[in-house]
């Protein structure tokens, strides 16, 4: 690639070393009329069919979840991103993400929906041959058949490739006989089709198979008793010489792990979208309750302690949402470019997503932790009622927690974030070395006091974000240099680096969104969004400083450490702002609108 070429599309992970223009990002304020209609259909579907039935769903009333999936299928919601030739609607990635976000407020239903449309459908759509796609995809897109995905085993969770399930060819060569045990299988209780991962004979890597529920040798355990998402069917699936026709091998032998990883990339960013939707819903409940509940003669929303919580819930959610759709747009553009270069559409989708696997992992971690924060504060705002099973916070609190565990735990995803970044640098795909050396040079030079620059509305924040990048390049560069091959074993340092990257990516996405929004609507109409941006970036600077310091203190010593700590201080310095007033402004808007309104 020619380094002197002007502005090329941004690649995955490049946010650390490149600037992005506000015009190039997609912001949710730009949804078109059709997308808004689709979103409304999702919201109405939840309001009419799911929300009134949450208790019955959680009790796993016989046939109810299947019925709700049928209804979602009848509305076309199960085939949003499936190509029209396979009975879907061929919508773009952002629209599919919007649907995931809107249905994200559906508790156990949203888990069933996401599992079906994601891991249940996509392996066959993306890796199936024509006959497999023709046979299964239209039925999955319409909802006639429900899908599930069997990867995890009792002893193979995060280390998915270590599974013990085996497949061997039958004597007549017509079948694979699969034997093994799969665990935590979402939708297992009512699924018709399972994508099952198993190793053929003594293969090193997994292969994937399409298994129908009626294939001989497949059986289900009873439902798991879970902390939350109680309405979601989760069972063990047993395979006892399960007879799978040879034509049901998905993709090539030993290609299963790649399928699993690539499908999980998609699942991760989708989980980011779904948790944003759930967060918005919890905020609306929180605001309404705070406006209704009176103590000491006034609504509790009038008290600063509650305003702080409401504002912080909204700020974090708005920031996460900005990052989710920025990355979705990037994936979509990368896919379009690959298609334009002549690559098959499905392969292009996978490759486009894979390019932004770092961002997907970041979003999975960040948005699931935002939802946990939002629900935790939701419970607190509800006070005693927050602890009562009669109020909605009980379910939200319990259902939120799984998001930090499934689709790769947040710890695995943090490790992956840094690991993928460094691997790309080593492969020469991402030039971290040059910028890192530049920062190292800057450390020993006289700081730039830069007073001459004319100040625009976003000058400061852009400068802070540029400095965050320097802070990360400095700490990461030093860690690689000092620890070398040991770095992969220093998980605490990797966690620190991941946290810094997450804060950078989200801060920058938020800043770009607000900048674009001000360009569209004018400064006066975006006062609260500007406040949200200022508060978030102010706090991000502190988080980045803390993580950086922790990392540096763990491996650097003497003068070098002192110099880098001073550099870190310089790169995470922000001007003092009145965050209390800014949060009050954000809260005032929420309170007056009586809902999440950004």
């Amino acid at each position: 690639m020619n380094a002197t070429e002007p502005m090329k599309a941004i690649k995955g992970g490049e946010f650390l070393i490149r600037e992005t223009s506000a015009e190039s990002v997609f912001i949710p304020e730009e949804w078109n009329e059709e997308q808004l209609m689709i979103a409304e259909t999702c919201t109405n579907f939840l309001a009419q069919q799911v929300t009134p039935n949450l208790q019955r769903i959680d009790e796993q009333e016989e046939g109810l979840m299947r019925h709700l999936m049928d209804e979602a299928g009848a509305l076309g919601l199960l085939g949003i991103s499936v190509p029209e030739e396979y009975g879907g609607f061929g919508k773009d990635f952002k629209t599919a993400m919007l649907v995931t976000e809107k249905l994200g407020a559906g508790h156990s239903f949203s888990v069933a929906f996401s599992a079906h449309t994601g891991i249940g459908t996509l392996p066959i759509l993306y890796y199936g041959n024509d006959a497999q796609k023709q046979k299964y995809v239209p039925k999955l897109a319409s909802g006639e058949w429900k899908g599930a995905y069997c990867l995890t085993e009792p002893a193979a969770g995060s280390d998915a490739n270590s599974g013990k399930t085996r497949a061997k060819l039958s004597a007549d060569g017509k079948y694979y006989l699969i034997t093994g045990q799969k665990m935590w299988i979402t939708n297992a209780g009512f699924a018709d089709v399972f994508t099952v991962f198993a190793k053929i004979d003594d293969d090193e890597n997994l292969s994937a198979f399409i298994v129908e529920k009626d294939f001989e040798g497949l059986s289900l355990n009873t439902e798991e008793h879970k902390m939350g998402i109680k309405g979601s069917s989760t069972r063990q699936v047993f395979f006892n010489d399960c007879k799978v026709p040879v034509e049901n091998l998905l993709s090539e032998r030993q290609n299963g792990f790649k399928i699993a990883v690539n499908i999980l990339n998609l699942g991760r960013i989708k989980l980011g979208g779904g948790t944003v939707g759930a967060s918005k819903d919890v905020i609306t409940s929180s605001v309404r309750y705070a406006n209704e509940r009176e103590q000491f003669g006034r609504a509790i929303s009038k008290y600063g302690a509650i305003k702080y919580k409401l504002a912080e819930q909204a700020i974090r959610t708005y920031a996460a949402e900005s990052a989710v759709y920025r990355a979705s747009q990037n994936m979509e553009e990368a896919t379009e470019m690959l298609i334009a270069s002549g690559i098959d559409e499905n392969k292009a989708k996978l490759k486009g997503t894979e390019q932004f696997a770092i961002e997907a992992a970041i979003l999975k971690v960040h948005a699931s932790e935002v939802l946990d924060y939002v629900t935790d504060e939701g419970v607190q705002i509800y006070g005693g009622m927050g602890y009562s099973a009669e109020a909605p916070m009980d379910r939200s609190y319990r259902d939120s927690r799984i998001n930090r565990i499934f689709e790769g735990t947040n710890e695995i995803n943090r490790l992956l974030t840094v690991d993928m970044m460094l691997k790309r640098a080593m492969k020469g795909e991402l030039d971290l070395m040059g910028p890192a050396q530049k920062v190292a040079g800057e450390l020993v030079s006289i700081p730039d006091f830069g007073a001459a620059e004319e100040e625009g509305l976003f000058t400061k924040e852009k400068k802070y974000i540029a400095n965050f990048k320097k802070a990360i390049l400095m700490v990461a560069g030093a860690a690689v240099q000092k620890l070398m091959m040991q770095l992969s074993k220093e998980q605490e340092v990797l966690m620190n680096l991941a946290d810094m990257l997450i804060e950078l990516y989200v801060s920058e996405s938020l800043q770009l969104r607000v900048e674009k929004l001000v360009g569209l609507r004018g400064e006066e109409a975006c006062k609260e969004q500007l406040d949200m941006m200022r508060v978030y970036i102010n706090d991000a600077a502190e988080h980045i400083a803390k993580s950086g310091k922790e990392a540096l203190n763990s491996f650097a010593e003497g003068d070098e450490r002192r110099m880098m700590l001073m550099g870190l201080k310089r790169f995470t310095k922000t001007e003092d702002i009145n965050t209390t007033q800014a949060r009050r402004n954000v809260a005032a808007k929420l309170i007056s609108e009586n809902k999440y309104c950004f």
């Binding site: 209609m37 409304e40 009419q48 509305l75 076309g76 919601l77 085939g79 609607f89 009586n594």
Partner: protein
């Protein structure tokens, strides 16, 4: 008050629980200019002649064209803010939806009639400027073959009815359905005025509609019971709860809405017969006091001293 004309307040209705003081111009004849206007006749004939042509009685096949009147209203959760010294409503940030009576009952019943093979074509009509188009397309996403937007701004039921009548007479419909009222201004008179202007029969506040041969069988709630009316087509019916069940637009409908025609018609000018003078927000609701069922003394005390009803 306008131009010193003799005026009276005719309504104190509510726009999302807001009081409106409106005036009417009593000198305005209700059927002003309509019946006499040649533009309202198809080939110079009475519109009724056209309507009845659509019913093929000989073969007992109904070839029925339905017109559904759609209006745009603020979302029910909208917080109404007044401006210009309480003479207009601030529309900034307001989300608009299809008037529920038009959508859930009139439009869905029309769609059901088409699905059951009774109707062949559904047209949707609305009166409004270009900013109402998202709402009419939303209606098209539910169903309907064609939409018509009369390019005019109207909060006056007579003016609205006039425009719709002007268009409908030129096309000829066998059945015209509308909601019993719009949930913003709650006038509830457009349907009746429309029928009058088109010289058609009118049944208001229907709770059920079926079509048998060339007649509509309509259920209505009346004081202490229900009445069933039968009326030959064509006619105008205003609909309320019971006529149909709400539906959610599906993906197929949403995607088709883009491709369905939306005609924009420039209406002939007509002056509204009512003018809104001012709006008032209702007084804030007083807080609710909960009294323990075991404490009747306190209840009596409160009813006496605070509510002052006993």
């Amino acid at each position: 008050m306008r131009g010193g004309a003799k005026e009276r307040v005719i309504a104190g209705v509510c726009l999302c629980c807001m009081l409106i003081k409106a005036e009417t111009h009593p000198s305005t004849p209700l059927k002003r200019g309509i019946a006499q206007s040649p533009a309202f006749y198809v080939n110079g004939n009475n519109p009724l002649a056209y309507f009845s042509n659509n019913i093929n009685l000989k073969n007992k096949i109904l070839i029925m064209k339905i017109l559904v009147c759609i209006s745009q209203v603020p979302d029910t959760s909208t917080k109404i803010v007044l401006k210009n010294n309480n003479t207009s409503v601030n529309s900034d940030g307001v989300t608009y939806v299809i008037n529920p009576y038009d959508e859930w009952y009139a439009l869905i019943r029309a769609i059901e009639l088409k699905e059951s093979g009774i109707a062949t074509e559904i047209h949707l009509i609305t009166v409004g400027k270009a900013d109402v188009e998202p709402v009419i397309r939303k209606a098209l996403a539910l169903g309907g073959d064609e939409a018509i937007r009369i390019d005019a701004e109207s909060n006056d039921p007579y003016e609205t009815a006039h425009y719709i009548a002007e268009y409908a007479a030129g096309v000829g419909y066998d059945l015209i359905l509308c909601g019993k009222e719009s949930i913003d201004y709650n006038n509830g008179t457009t349907g009746a005025m429309l029928a009058e202007l088109l010289d058609l029969d009118y049944i208001g506040f229907a709770t059920g509609i079926s079509i048998e041969a060339n007649a509509a069988v309509v259920n209505r709630e009346i004081e202490g019971g229900e009445e069933t009316d039968a009326c030959n087509l064509p006619l105008v019916i205003s609909c309320q709860k019971g006529v149909a069940e709400a539906r959610i637009p599906n993906m197929r409908g949403i995607m088709a809405a883009r491709t369905r025609p939306l005609k924009v018609i420039t209406p002939s000018g007509i002056a509204a017969v009512t003018e809104i003078l001012s709006y008032e927000l209702p007084p804030a609701k007083a807080g609710i006091k909960l009294v323990s069922p075991d404490d009747m003394d306190e209840l009596v005390e409160l009813l006496h001293t605070e509510a002052k009803v006993i």
